[in-house]
């Protein structure tokens, strides 16, 4: 740095490099300073009117008394107010009555989608398409009945079907014959040998004389195209006949448990869910 300032009178700071590069002491532009002071003022205003810094585990409330959670609650109250005109009617109605009102059932389907996603979709799929071992609920085949009251009952109380394991009672050949007979039933084929086994082993006690099932106890209809355990077919049927369903002493038994939602959801929510499920596969 030079001892004597070689550029006097130009308002430089005295910092000079390479003989002629020097730092001038020009003031910061006024608009910039004004913005800066305005920003400082804004910080003070913000701190005064909004909760901004913690003292202990709380923030001072601020003059406006605004909080995020209050704003959230106000927003929710707004939504509730919009929904109230439907919800007030739905409260006093049965699921059946909701289905009879086009406007209310449209509202129910639209508003309960979230509830279905939170509680049902994990097993039954987002559109009721089911999953291996979890039944499809978008079709027209119902283990315990497809009326909206039956669906409501299933959600409220839960369901647990039972089919005994036949692995120790029947030979491998007999099970093979039975499985082929059952698969043939859904394709409209008749097999006297299979029918004889069906009768001799009291399959009809649950599945009925015509093998069309019994919705009172959740025994499946063996004659239709839909399979409770997917993918269907002879192998799947053999497994079910051998190990049963929910059979306590067989470790390989099929597990099929629908839990009760009575403790988790209110009766009103369950009623609306029943309407939603009912309308998954039909109008």
């Amino acid at each position: 740095m030079a001892d004597k300032n070689p550029f006097p009178g130009e308002n430089n700071t005295g910092h000079i490099w390479d003989d002629n590069i020097r730092e001038l002491a020009n003031p910061i532009p006024r608009w910039w300073m004004l913005s800066w002071w305005a920003s400082c003022a804004w910080v003070v205003i913000y701190v005064v009117i909004y909760p901004s810094f913690p003292i202990g585990d709380k923030a001072p409330p601020g003059l406006l008394g605004w909080t995020q959670i209050e704003e959230f609650k106000e927003g929710m109250a707004e939504v509730e107010a919009i929904r109230a005109k439907y919800e007030d009617q739905i409260k006093g109605m049965t699921a059946e009555q909701i289905l009879g009102d086009a406007g209310l059932s449209d509202y129910t389907v639209a508003s309960v989608k979230v509830l279905f996603g939170d509680n049902c979709a994990a097993c039954h799929g987002s559109g009721g398409q089911g999953a291996p071992d979890f039944p499809v609920i978008a079709d027209d085949d119902w283990l315990y009945g497809g009326g909206v009251d039956k669906i409501e009952e299933s959600i409220t109380k839960g369901r647990k079907g039972m089919m005994p394991a036949h692995g120790s009672k029947l030979s491998v050949e007999q099970i093979d014959t039975l499985a082929n007979y059952v698969v043939g039933l859904s394709e409209g084929k008749e097999d006297p040998a299979g029918k004889a086994l069906f009768m001799a082993n009291a399959c009809f006690a649950c599945h009925g004389m015509t093998a069309t099932g019994n919705q009172a106890m959740g025994a499946v209809n063996l004659t239709d195209s839909v399979w409770r355990f997917t993918p269907g077919g002879v192998e799947s049927a053999k497994h079910t006949i051998t190990h049963g369903v929910n059979f306590p002493t067989d470790p390989e038994t099929r597990e099929a448990i629908m839990p009760s939602f009575a403790d988790k959801l209110s009766a009103n929510e369950i009623k609306k869910l029943a309407v939603y499920v009912y309308k998954l596969g039909q109008q």
């Binding site: 799929g125 987002s126 499809v136 978008a138 239709d224 195209s225 839909v226 039909q282 109008q283």
Partner: protein, 475 residues
């Protein structure tokens, strides 16, 4: 490194410095007071300015009992005479924007900044504001003098009148803009009883302030430093673009003509260096320095120069619309052989066709079909495959209407939900529709299905089709 620059390096620097001395840039520290002169281009400019009267008076036009052109933002509808455009048709707007943007490109490639010079609101409002200024404060010389003079009652009254009128125009601009988005008669009555919505107040306030500041004070500075289109358009001009140009071959060397000396004796060009072209320029540039960023190509200098050429008995056109190629005596390729114009022209044409198609195909009743994603299909107990669709029926009629839904598709197709529904007017009614096909009839995984709706009880008959797919299991 040598410590002393060589002589030639200094010479190059001298050239640059000399250029910098001539390089005049108005950064807003001086107010341009442009002289106003009559002429052909001035008349054209008044005409092009007056196109903006549409903005002021358009909203008052009525059609079938409602505003003819109305952007109804709260109801998400755009009314254009008897066409109602809902957000579903917004792709048309994309084509309109494309049409306008490419037009800007094409016109600029052909004839420079026509938009800037003749149509841009900044130019037009500034023109109007300076015209008012001249009415109150007089010619440019008088205005400059007035600006420097101390405040007197006369100066105060002139300034007050001018600013009041400016503000009135600014506010009318704001109100007229808002009038395109709300019923204009209701707007005026709400305005006078101070009952406007806060959005309307804020918009009017911003437009008033913006118009007053931009047209009253910032003027050409907006074109020079704020407006991106000025820069974009500057990059589109090339040697074939026909723009206001000073014919330097004819004009140079310029000299002030003297009495009694004939032009044959004087070996100089036609330019008499009267500076009229600079005096009339609304952005204060000198066209004789050639094409430059400050020039908005408004052609007012052509009027000024032609008037002077009349006086000195020379032909018009020392400053004229001419391409740089034309100035050098080179021929420009015909328009259809200029790739830029061919490409932009085709895009404009295609966009226009799309807009016309869009506007003519907007139906009173429109159908959209969404196939359910989860699950794609469901096997039913009778062995048939069921697909679920959401039909969205848009009804632009004035009343609710009964609609019949039918579908054609794979053999054995059956709709199992209601086929006669009532759709509400002025909105989209969504509904679930279920269709079934016996599994044995499904030969391929996915096949087309066409939904068809037709109105049943309205006076006029409307229908709409939409194709979707019917999906079954893999075979």
């Amino acid at each position: 490194m040598s410590t002393q620059p060589s002589h030639s390096q200094f010479a190059a620097l001298d050239d640059l410095l000399e250029e910098a001395d001539n390089w005049h840039v108005n950064a807003g520290d001086e107010t341009i007071h442009a002289k106003r002169m009559g002429g052909k281009w001035r008349n054209i400019k008044w005409f092009s300015n007056s196109i903006w009267l549409l903005m002021f008076f358009g909203p008052y036009l009525r059609w079938n009992g409602q505003q003819a052109i109305l952007w109804d933002i709260p109801d998400r509808q755009f009314h254009l005479f008897n066409i109602t455009i809902l957000p579903q048709d917004l792709w048309i707007l994309a084509l309109v924007l494309l049409f306008l943007a490419i037009n800007l490109l094409a016109i600029t490639a052909f004839s420079g900044r026509v938009w800037c010079g003749f149509l841009c609101f900044q130019t037009v409002w500034t023109d109007l504001y300076t015209w008012i200024e001249e009415k109150f404060e007089g010619t440019p010389q008088q205005r400059r003098k007035l600006d420097k003079s101390p405040v007197t009652a006369s100066k105060f009254s002139k300034k007050l009148g001018k600013h009041t009128l400016w503000l009135v125009i600014a506010m009318l601009t704001g109100i007229s803009f808002v009038a395109w988005f709300t019923d204009v008669y209701v707007l005026w009555s709400d305005f006078f009883v101070l009952q406007l919505s806060s959005a309307a107040w804020i918009t009017i306030l911003m437009f008033t302030a913006g118009t007053y500041l931009l047209a009253g004070f910032m003027r050409e500075q907006v074109c020079m430093w704020l407006c991106p289109y000025a820069r974009i358009q500057g990059a589109m001009v090339d040697v074939t673009t026909i723009i206001p140009t000073y014919d330097l071959h004819r004009g140079e060397p310029r000299s002030r003509k003297r009495k009694g000396v004939s032009s044959e004796q004087e070996k100089s060009g036609d330019c008499v260096d009267c500076n009229q072209c600079v005096a009339v320029c609304p952005t204060g540039v000198d066209i004789r320095q050639g094409q430059q960023e400050g020039c908005i190509m408004c052609a007012l200098c052509i009027d000024a120069c032609d008037a002077v050429m009349d006086k000195v008995g020379r032909p018009h056109g020392l400053i004229r619309y001419e391409s740089l190629n034309g100035l050098e005596g080179k021929a420009c390729p015909p328009l259809y052989k200029q790739p830029r114009l061919v490409v932009t022209g085709s895009i404009i044409f295609a966009a226009l066709l799309g807009i016309l198609y869009g506007l003519s195909s907007i139906d009173a009743v429109d159908l959209k079909v969404l196939h359910a994603r989860q699950p794609l299909y469901v096997l039913q107990s009778d062995g048939s495959i069921q697909n679920k669709y959401t039909l969205k029926i848009l009804n632009k009629l004035a009343a609710d209407v009964k609609v019949k839904i039918t579908a054609t598709g794979p053999a054995g197709l059956k709709i199992t939900s209601n086929q006669v529904v009532v759709v509400q007017h002025g909105t989209v009614t969504p509904m679930s529709v279920y269709a079934r096909v016996p599994r044995k009839d499904l030969m391929v995984e996915s096949q087309p299905i066409i939904f068809h709706i037709e109105t049943m009880d309205s006076k006029e008959h409307f229908s709409s089709d939409r194709e979707s797919v019917f999906i079954g299991p893999k075979r």
